[in-house]
């Protein structure tokens, strides 16, 4: 177990190196630079800034300097917001994104899994059709459609919740809902599929044969293996959801981390983009590792190799 974790952590290093290198190269290939603007900046001023951030040095030197900084988790100041360290920007944004994502994840599981179980148990009956139709709709409606509809109905017409902004608890409701609907739907479908498969297995027949109540069969025996597909989906889903959806953050003016990826890329804010990308990559890999560990706990057939 310890050896497994250690090996996986070690494997992350080359992966991160590749990601860092690719990001670095792609950022530099993009035309323009961090100090371009609609109104021409005086040549002397531009030169001064390039020097200040070491952008006048040869590219390989810049690359090595960046790698060195990344190892020490020091990405330096953002080019666009020079009084702030990239690290501080990431931390501040992540706290918000994690809260939004955490709630959305919780809502997705609390509703998605029971719906999926119900649909599987009542396979091909009205409950199943209703849930699966809803799930299909949930997966199909993109966040940029659902968000504005929620705002229109619940904020502007019924005025139950704020239209946007990250203030009190009531401001969490709409963004969490908008973010979680697609995940509720997807998790319900995954749970249903997993449960259907498990319910046909011999050990379930055994359980039924020895006279266990259906409730105990489903929740006590089938569920543990039935949710495995959900667990494996949880890793990437959690990474995506916890990093905040860029679209949801935009619609609801949530000061999360997701938008920095977009803003940073548009502004050619090299340090900010590299910092956010590396943070995201690490986060995703750690979550995948946790998923693998959870897998092993849930399914005794899985061995950590």
């Amino acid at each position: 177990m310890i050896a497994f974790i250690l090996r996986r952590v070690l494997l992350m290093v080359p992966t991160l190196l590749v990601i860092a290198t690719l990001t670095f190269v792609m950022m530099r290939l993009a035309p323009g630079g961090p100090f371009m603007s609609d109104k021409e900046m005086p040549a002397r001023a531009k030169q001064e800034l390039m020097q200040r951030y070491g952008l006048d040095r040869p590219l390989h030197e810049q690359y090595l300097a960046f790698l060195g900084n990344a190892v020490r988790l020091e990405f330096g100041p953002s080019y666009k917001y020079p009084d702030r360290e990239v690290r501080d920007i990431i931390v501040q944004g992540f706290v918000v994104s994690a809260e939004l994502g955490g709630w959305a994840m919780l809502v997705a599981l609390v509703f998605g899994v029971p719906f999926g179980v119900l649909a599987a148990v009542r396979q091909n009956r009205p409950e199943d059709f209703a849930i699966m139709t809803l799930a299909l709709a949930g997966v199909s409606v993109p966040a940029f459609v659902l968000g504005p509809v929620l705002v229109l109905v619940f904020a502007l017409t019924l005025t139950w919740f704020p239209a946007a902004l990250w203030t009190g608890p009531e401001s969490r409701v709409l963004p969490v809902l908008a973010l979680s609907v697609a995940y509720i739907a997807y998790i319900a479908r995954l749970t249903r599929a997993g449960m259907l498969e498990v319910l046909q297995q011999d050990y379930i027949r055994t359980a039924r044969a020895k006279g266990l109540r259906e409730r105990a069969v489903v929740l006590g025996h089938a569920l543990q293996l039935g949710v495995l597909p959900v667990v494996s989906y949880l890793g990437p889903a959690a990474a995506r959801i916890l990093m905040g959806s860029i679209v949801i953050e935009q619609i609801f003016a949530v000061p999360g981390l997701g938008r920095y990826l977009v803003i940073g890329a548009i502004n050619r804010d090299y340090t900010l983009v590299l910092g956010v990308v590396l943070f995201y990559a690490t986060f995703l890999m750690v979550l995948n590792l946790l998923v693998d560990l959870a897998y092993q706990r849930l399914d005794p057939r899985v061995e950590l190799a």
């Binding site: 323009g32 021409e40 709709a137």
Partner: protein, 548 residues
């Protein structure tokens, strides 16, 4: 549910095209957009827009940054809330020498920074010098170039020992210009000319603009910040005119999405949705609402030709394309009257400036010119492309003009959209044929537009230069008599318009939403709004009735 889905989609599409929900709240015989519940107390909430990049007035550049600076700092002069005319700010009075070269500012007695440190004329000398010092890398340093020795110092050609800045005593600040500049006093209202606290900068370096460190001298003190969320302010107790600041608190959100910004306004979360934050498809629907205000804004939208490339090295081709644009139709049908068709480089509204006549729509003459240039009915016209930065509005205008050129001239122009950074680089490096451009003036004088077309100016980006044009602008800069100076500028503009380097399309407008209880906030041509005069009128219903 299956049946509901298309309905949901239609609903969402509608909500992105038109202001959602009811037809507005009717009160006192007028229709208002959304909530009519005012804030509690003297609290003013608005959307600052895109997160400011810099909070250092000496080096900043954008409009949100400027709005922040105008709250927390104050220059020698401040703008009148309606006309923007310079009024006494940190300086209580000034004199100008008869040759227009020496400005002597007399500071108000007892000025202090928000941390209590005295503020003197020496602070201005230090701050202005700092803006000009090359290592500061201030992007708007060129606004200080009228000052003697400033340009050479900023470009690293001198050590700045002859800079025309002096403080003979704590309360007198003497500025000597290199040549008379009619709009210099107006420039001193600009944020680049605001003083910055030397004692704080020397202690904290670049981090002096963080909320824990920042010290200002303006009407408000900055109390809270969360990036991409909000800024909060309270009146500064040390401000010289504290008695007249009526707001108790100001909350400026930094929401860059236009739909979200307007939704917040509608839901009553903000009292002011500033210009530029109404989605353009909404504009056509906003006119009936009493909180919608529109006025001229000092900016023009135009196309520029790359005159270093054939066929645009031929003035006849450029003129032909310029004459074959039906600006009226674009403004009326495409922009739904939210912008004014415009046939000139400089915008309207410069006192005393009578610009050249606007170019109009004349397909006959356009065809004749194109034939003269060797492309009768567009035959043999090379493949050229029209570059614009990615945006739905730019695309619609480009498509309309593409169709007009096809119809009237028989030429085919490709559309090419690029993301902002690529677009900027292409225009700067003259790697384009025709490009969408726009320009917003910095100060109230035609010079802020005409300067752009000087040979070698970094914002020229057309490859065009004309020694006669440059000479006219230089001579105008040295001319003291205002009417004569403006005549020279008009002559220069006529010359540039005749050369058809820029193809003007429309005049910018400010389009904003203001709740009925907001007082002291007026539309201005620079979209600059001194917030210290703003207050919340809780008796607005009665007062509205009393007004015509």
């Amino acid at each position: 549910m299956r049946a509901l889905l298309p309905w949901l989609l239609i609903c969402a599409t509608l909500s992105s095209c038109a202001p959602a929900g009811d037809g507005g709240v009717v009160s006192e015989g007028r229709r208002w957009f959304g909530s009519l519940t005012p804030p509690v107390g003297q609290v003013f909430r608005f959307n600052l827009g895109t997160e400011p990049e810099l909070r250092d007035p000496g080096v900043m550049g954008g409009q949100p940054d400027g709005r922040f600076a105008r709250m927390v700092f104050e220059g020698l002069t401040v703008n009148d809330a309606r006309t923007l005319e310079p009024l006494p700010g940190q300086a209580r009075a000034w004199t100008i020498s008869p040759d227009g070269l020496v400005y002597t500012f007399h500071m108000r007695p007892g000025l202090v920074w928000s941390d209590g440190t005295p503020l003197t004329a020496h602070d201005f000398v230090w701050s202005w010098r700092r803006v000009l010092a090359p290592e500061t890398a201030a992007r708007n340093a060129s606004l200080l170039y009228p000052i003697r020795g400033a340009e050479a110092f900023n470009k690293g050609e001198s050590d700045g020992s002859d800079l025309g800045l002096a403080a003979p005593d704590d309360s007198t600040f003497v500025v000597t210009l290199g040549h008379p500049t009619a709009y210099f006093l107006f420039l001193t209202t600009y944020y680049v000319f605001m003083p910055v606290p030397r004692h704080v900068i020397e202690r904290h370096g670049v981090r002096w603009t963080l909320p824990a460190n920042l010290v200002g001298n303006g009407a408000f003190r900055w109390t809270f910040w969360r990036q991409n969320d909000r800024y909060e302010f309270v009146p500064s107790p040390t401000y010289w005119d504290r008695a007249h600041v009526r707001l108790e608190r100001v909350i400026a959100y930094t929401v860059d999405d236009l739909n979200t910004s307007s939704n917040l306004y509608k839901s009553g979360a903000t009292d002011w949705n500033p210009s530029g934050y109404i989605p353009s498809p909404w504009l056509a629907y906003m006119k009936p609402y009493a909180d919608y205000r529109t006025d001229r804004y000092q900016g023009t939208y135009f196309y520029s030709f790359n005159t270093t490339r054939a066929p645009f090295d031929d003035v006849r081709v450029r003129r032909a394309l310029m004459l074959a644009v039906d600006r009226e139709t674009i403004a009326r049908d495409l922009l739904k009257g939210s912008r004014e068709p415009w046939g000139r480089i400089t915008p309207a509204g410069y006192p005393g400036y009578e610009g050249p006549p606007q170019v109009g729509y004349d397909p006959e003459r356009a065809r004749a010119l194109l034939a003269q240039a060797g492309y009768p009915e567009g035959r043999g016209f090379p493949r050229v492309s029209l570059l614009f930065n990615t945006s739905e509005d730019h695309r619609r205008i480009a498509e309309a003009i593409q169709a007009m050129w096809k119809r009237d001239l028989g030429i085919t122009v490709e559309l090419s959209n690029q993301e902002w950074g690529s677009y900027l680089q292409a225009t700067q490096a003259l790697r384009y044929d025709i490009a969408r451009r726009s320009w917003i003036g910095d100060y109230l004088d035609p010079n802020t537009f005409l300067q752009m077309l000087m040979g070698g100016d970094g914002n020229n980006r057309t490859g065009w230069s004309d020694p006669r044009y440059d000479a006219l602008l230089r001579e105008a800069a040295r001319t003291l008599e205002p009417a004569q100076r403006l005549r020279m500028l008009a002559e220069a503009e006529a010359l540039a318009l005749d050369a058809a380097v820029f193809l003007p399309i429309y005049h910018y407008s400010t389009t904003e939403l203001v709740k009925p209880w907001v007082r002291g906030l007026h539309p201005t041509v620079l979209d600059v709004h001194p917030l210290r005069h703003v207050w919340i009128d809780h008796d607005w219903r009665r007062n509205l009735e009393a007004r015509p």
